[in-house]
């Protein structure tokens, strides 16, 4: 709290991000230990987590006050105008401090308390069990075994303790290979395809330089090849552009020489590095954040940012993996430089194409735990959790989520989860509210004692499962399906709901998805009602037959009175509400009047109170 000087500022204006007529809402700004909160005159609250803040900027003073521009990692952009410069300065300074913490212990996760007891918390952490996951894939088996070489993080600090390697690869071979690989990240199993007996393995680049070789490494690759009796060769996929890989040779790193490794087929797939990706996203955000953007600037900006080109490259690489496994029963070894960025993207996406389990809610969590968290994708550095090197920040995981989103668009029935699930995960890789994504590898997480001090995100997502279910998911038809996405360029679209998540004015005003989701829920309720009614009717009928029997016995049968029957006053009961609110059109309120942006001509004459004869009553949110 020592960073907070001003906790409340009144008469602050929140500008509409895209309005060309400087539309704004007036309200009060509050600064808490964890959040920045704006409450407008309609009592609508905007919460911004300090950790979500990517940048704070104080713009030159204007006549109406001091502008403060805040850009968030979840792509929210807010533009405040604070009446007094001193307040603005205080807030600005506080946010600078609060959004860039120096120590892990100061992150939200260490103070976040969702009122769970210790055993619940621990259960939460045990929800995803990777040993179980490897078992599900079918390892260990006669070809693959659990290696204890890294049990104490002695060989590779950024790998997990438990690693699966070919049974015939002895410990000296593993140790030898690890010395020949960047950061000791030697080839290990990422995914095993039981039917094809083919494996997806991952590692970092070899320290081959121009001519160095390592027999143990060559042995290990041979062992991986032999662990797959279905194919005589295996692929080695270097996910980098060839030029980058070659440049690495000068630094004593590089890529595998096909001559030294028997039976490998070597392949570059050309995904750019984290720096290119960072600046690509930066460009994208500059383009789509522009006011009064015209169509051609949008598309030429989209093109020059290269963003969709990168997404397509990642997708194409994953398809290469899936095809090698499915069509050729071949194993694939994937690496980039360190094997924790592009390699994670490609291995996880490849597995997702191959295995429908990863397309379920729980399976997707497992996939993230396996290929991202446990294999040491440097979440804290890539997401900039702490005040650190800005050059380490890169949207690698965001790209992975975007690839998955593109798949959900092409295969609307193949995924158990919906877009909201992806967005929620994205929210939390940056929120530092849960421990899952803190730290850069498992060893670091253990040292931070995250399981004791913080909570896991997954149980909270599972509790909220209803929100994340895809109503069109058809589990039966998907079980054995391998996804074969079409990557012709026109299939890739700008992900509006990610990059404009908070810009409601750009969204469709009615969502088919929400309606169907609610209808599905309602259908379940109706099925229950029907059961309930049927049993009640049955009871009544039984009773009546009993009554009739008794009556017959008493020999006093009354004919049914027709008058009675017609006088039955039946009111058609209204059924469950058909979610009117959902069908209603969002955003017809004065605060969200996109209509005034069609022409600047009207900005001057905008009525202060817009009378809305329709709409207001049925508004959602």
């Amino acid at each position: 709290m020592e960073h907070i000087r001003t906790t409340k500022v009144e008469q602050v204006k929140l500008l509409d991000r895209f309005s060309t007529s400087n539309k704004s809402l007036t309200g009060t700004l509050y600064l808490t230990a964890t959040h920045l909160l704006f409450i407008d005159s309609h009592q609508k609250e905007t919460w911004i987590l300090h950790h979500h803040i990517a940048s704070v900027e104080k713009l030159p003073l204007t006549t109406s006050g001091c502008p403060l521009l805040i850009q968030c990692k979840n792509f929210r952009t807010v533009h405040f105008i604070v009446p007094r410069e001193r307040d603005c300065h205080d807030i600005y300074n506080s946010l600078l401090q609060l959004s860039k913490q120096a120590k892990y212990e100061d992150l939200y996760a260490f103070s976040y308390n969702p009122k769970q007891n210790d055993s619940e918390r621990l259960q939460g952490w045990q929800l995803i069990d990777l040993t179980e996951e490897y078992k599900r894939m079918g390892v260990p088996n006669s070809n693959w075994q659990l290696s204890d070489a890294n049990r104490e993080y002695k060989i590779c600090e950024t790998y997990p303790r438990e690693l699966y390697v070919p049974r015939i690869a002895s410990k000296p071979i593993i140790v030898g290979s690890s010395k020949f690989r960047s950061k000791g990240r030697f080839p290990v199993l990422s995914y095993y395809h039981q039917d094809k007996e083919a494996a997806i393995c991952r590692c970092s680049q070899p320290l081959s330089g121009f001519s160095a070789r390592c027999l143990e490494d060559e042995h290990l690759l041979q062992a991986i090849g032999k662990a797959n009796p279905a194919s005589r060769y295996m692929y080695v996929v270097d996910t980098r552009p060839k030029l980058n890989a070659m440049a690495n040779r000068a630094a004593g790193k590089g890529y595998e020489n096909e001559d030294n490794y028997s039976n490998i087929r070597f392949q570059f797939v050309g995904i750019e590095n984290i720096h290119v990706m960072r600046s690509s996203l930066q460009k994208l955000l500059e383009v789509n954040g522009a006011k009064g953007l015209c169509v051609s600037d949008f598309y030429s900006g989209l093109e020059s940012s290269g963003w969709l080109r990168h997404i397509k490259a990642v997708m194409d690489a994953a398809i290469f993996l899936a095809k090698a496994v499915m069509a050729e029963s071949a194993s694939v070894l994937v690496h980039c430089s360190d094997g924790w960025d592009r390699t994670s993207q490609v291995c996880s996406l490849g597995s997702l194409l191959l295995d429908s389990y990863y397309r379920t809610i729980r399976g997707f969590m497992v996939l993230i735990e396996k290929d991202w968290i446990s294999f040491g994708h440097k979440f804290s550095e890539r997401c900039g959790h702490l005040d650190g090197d800005p050059k380490e920040v890169s949207p690698v995981f965001t790209q992975f989520l975007e690839c998955v989103w593109h798949l959900t668009e092409q295969f609307p029935q193949a995924f158990e989860f919906n877009e909201a699930f992806l967005l929620q995960i994205h929210e939390h890789i940056h929120s530092c509210q849960f421990g899952n994504f803190l730290g850069n590898c498992q060893k670091e997480r253990e040292e931070l004692k995250l399981e004791e001090k913080t909570y896991s995100l997954w149980p909270f997502l599972l509790d909220d499962q209803k929100k994340y279910l895809n109503p069109l998911y058809s589990s039966k038809s998907q079980r054995l399906m391998v996804l074969e996405p079409n990557t012709v360029s026109f299939n890739f679209k700008f992900w509006r709901n990610m990059y404009h998540q908070f810009d409601r004015t750009l969204h469709p005003r009615q969502s088919v998805f929400n309606i169907i989701m609610n209808m599905n829920e309602q259908n379940k309720q109706l099925e229950e009602d029907i059961k309930d009614l049927e049993s009640k009717i049955k009871q009544h009928k039984n009773k009546q037959t009993e009554d009739i029997l008794t009556k017959e016995l008493l020999n006093s049968v009354h004919p049914e009175s027709p008058a009675l029957k017609t006088s039955l006053c039946l009111k058609e009961q209204t059924l469950l509400p058909v979610n009117d609110a959902l069908r209603a059109i969002e955003g017809s309120n004065p605060a969200d009047n996109r209509y005034s942006d069609y022409a600047e001509e009207f900005s001057k004459s905008e009525p202060t109170v817009v009378s809305l004869e329709y709409g207001v009553a049925r508004m959602t949110c």
Partner: protein, 552 residues
């Protein structure tokens, strides 16, 4: 029959048909006066029936004696026929060429088509102007029907009956007609019941360079204003273009002569600019080999979505004037037959719930496009593959449909019709067995005696068996004004039209099917619950009535 001489080879065996996403089919190719037919004579394979009028362009090439004809259709589909024998191939190609470019409208298929369905309602009489006017007359007495154009003498592109201010007599209308391009004097396009404001449309005023004025014209449009109120004139051309038009005798309304009106210029493109945009877009969509950068830059360079944005924005502006500013508007461009109609009809989609129903939309197309004299024959003569530079083609109507689709995407529950309905209208505007879109205006249609000699598209559509294909299962009527977002991030390429033949939509179709199933199931369950509740209530009443009698 007349076509016999055009058909050099009526029939070729062993022709192989290639279509994207379908296995190749071998069969017999037949040419009739109006169709190209390929039949494999097997029960389970689909036959190809292609209207000659749907053919936009053909290419032919030869490898040895095997000829290949590539047929490019107006609906953007491309199919390939492998024809054995060079002579046959050449004959077929030249026959198709001749048959697909018939000069005389009366030789077109609609004049020969005999319906195989039962006509429930004759579409030619479904949307009579008198009936449409009745919808307004209950709300206002300020307007009247005028028959001044009965013989099409005052304005050749107007229908015989138009709606004009009551206070303006036919004599004044004749004078105004001489002051407006093509005789298109201002007429009522839409009356907004909520506040009595109106949309009028016309051709440009013929002010010329010396600032000619016409008192009757001023009087006519002022007659639509309430005391002390101002109106807006939306000129769909940029100020620059409008000023240049003066040199050719056209022009725009001078402030001095129309002090109660405020003029707003927008710039919606016309003619060849739009046609070229379409050609570029379709070319970009058809090339699957484009890398990402090339695809995006081609999509951008086509400018198609820029046109969409401009048209939608202008329509929103018009609707905004009416609904939010409470002001009447007059819309025109140059002729008042293209961009003007895009704007007036889209404004109605935004403002008027009726135009979002199937019937209401049909009425809108009838009123604002057919009756209003959009020259369909000229605009839709060729589509995206035509190589010859003809002056009059332009995808004006397709752009309108695309804009409707954009709004439909943003308000998926507010329309009674679905995307298929819009696609169907696009197809029929370019090639059809029905007479509805033939001719350029009512006058031409009358001369062609279309009502007597051809079938109306609406007769075919408005049957339950057809309607169910075009009905949006999510529709729930709402009376709101629907304001679409026109930000580039909110506009999308209409895949159902432009990528229709370039990728499989299997998974999307299956998902749509599932949506329909869920909705159907919901209805079923609701009905069942209602029945059970009634049963239970009856039983309960019987019980409570029955009881006392047991103890007399």
């Amino acid at each position: 029959m007349e076509f016999a001489e055009l058909i050099k080879t009526p029939r070729v065996d062993n022709v192989v048909l290639h279509r994207p996403f379908y296995p190749a089919v071998e069969g017999t190719l037949c040419l009739t006066g109006h169709h190209l037919i390929l039949s494999s004579r097997q029960d389970n394979t689909e036959e190809l029936w292609l209207l000659h009028s749907n053919i936009d362009a053909i290419d032919k090439r030869f490898v040895g004696s095997l000829g290949t004809i590539i047929i490019k259709c107006k609906d953007f589909r491309i199919i390939q026929l492998d024809i054995p024998g060079m002579e046959e191939c050449l004959n077929i190609a030249s026959s198709i060429e001749a048959l697909s470019t018939l000069d005389s409208i009366t030789l077109m298929y609609p004049f020969f088509y005999r319906p195989m369905f039962e006509v429930i309602e004759d579409g030619w009489h479904s949307f009579l102007p008198e009936q449409e006017f009745e919808l307004y007359s209950s709300a206002t007495s300020e307007w009247r029907l005028s028959y001044v154009n009965k013989e099409f003498a005052v304005c050749p592109s107007y229908p015989p009956i138009v709606i004009v201010p009551k206070s303006i007599d036919d004599e004044a209308l004749r004078k105004v007609a001489t002051f407006r391009h093509g005789g298109r004097f201002p007429v009522l396009s839409y009356y907004y019941k909520k506040n009595g404001m109106v949309i009028m449309r016309s051709g440009q005023p013929l002010t010329g360079t010396n600032g000619r004025r016409c008192k009757e014209d001023e009087k006519l449009i002022n007659a639509t204003l309430r005391a002390g109120k101002r109106g807006y004139i939306i000129d769909t051309r940029s100020l620059n273009v409008a000023q240049q038009a003066r040199a050719r005798g056209g022009g725009f309304e001078q402030e001095a002569h129309y002090p109660q009106w405020r003029r707003i210029h927008k710039s919606i493109e016309r003619y060849h600019v739009l046609q070229e945009s379409l050609i570029k877009l379709v070319e970009a969509c058809n090339d699957q080999t484009h890398n990402m950068d090339r695809w995006l830059s081609k999509l951008e360079a086509s400018n198609w979505l820029t046109h969409i944005k401009e048209i939608l924005t202008t329509a929103c502006l018009a609707a905004q004037c009416i609904d939010r500013e409470g002001a009447s508007i007059l819309i025109h461009g140059t002729e008042g037959t293209d961009s003007t109609l895009q704007v007036t009809s889209l404004a109605q989609i935004i403002l008027d719930p009726r135009s979002r129903t199937i019937r209401g939309f049909e009425a809108l197309v009838e009123r604002e496009w057919l009756q209003a004299g959009h020259p369909f024959q000229q605009r839709c003569a060729q589509s995206a593959y035509c190589s010859s530079k003809q002056k009059w083609e332009a995808p004006v109507f397709l752009l309108f449909l695309d804009c409707v689709w954009q709004i439909l995407r943003q308000f998926p529950c507010s329309f009674e019709f679905n995307e298929h309905f819009l696609v169907m209208l696009f197809e029929h505007a370019y090639a059809s067995q029905f007479g509805t879109f033939l001719g350029n205006n009512e006058s031409e249609r009358c001369k062609l005696k279309l009502q007597q000699k051809t079938m109306s598209l609406w007769s075919w559509v408005n049957r339950p068996s057809k309607l169910c294909q075009f009905t949006n299962p999510l529709f729930e009527a709402n009376n709101l004004v629907i304001w679409p977002s026109v930000a580039p991030q909110s506009l999308q390429l209409w895949e159902g039209i432009f990528l229709r033949w370039n990728r499989s939509s299997k998974y999307q179709d299956e998902a749509y099917e599932e949506v329909v199933n869920i909705i159907e199931y919901n209805k079923e369950l609701q009905a069942k619950v209602n029945i059970l509740r009634r049963q239970l209530a009856e039983l309960e009443t019987e019980d409570s009535c029955g009881r006392p009698s047991e103890h007399p």
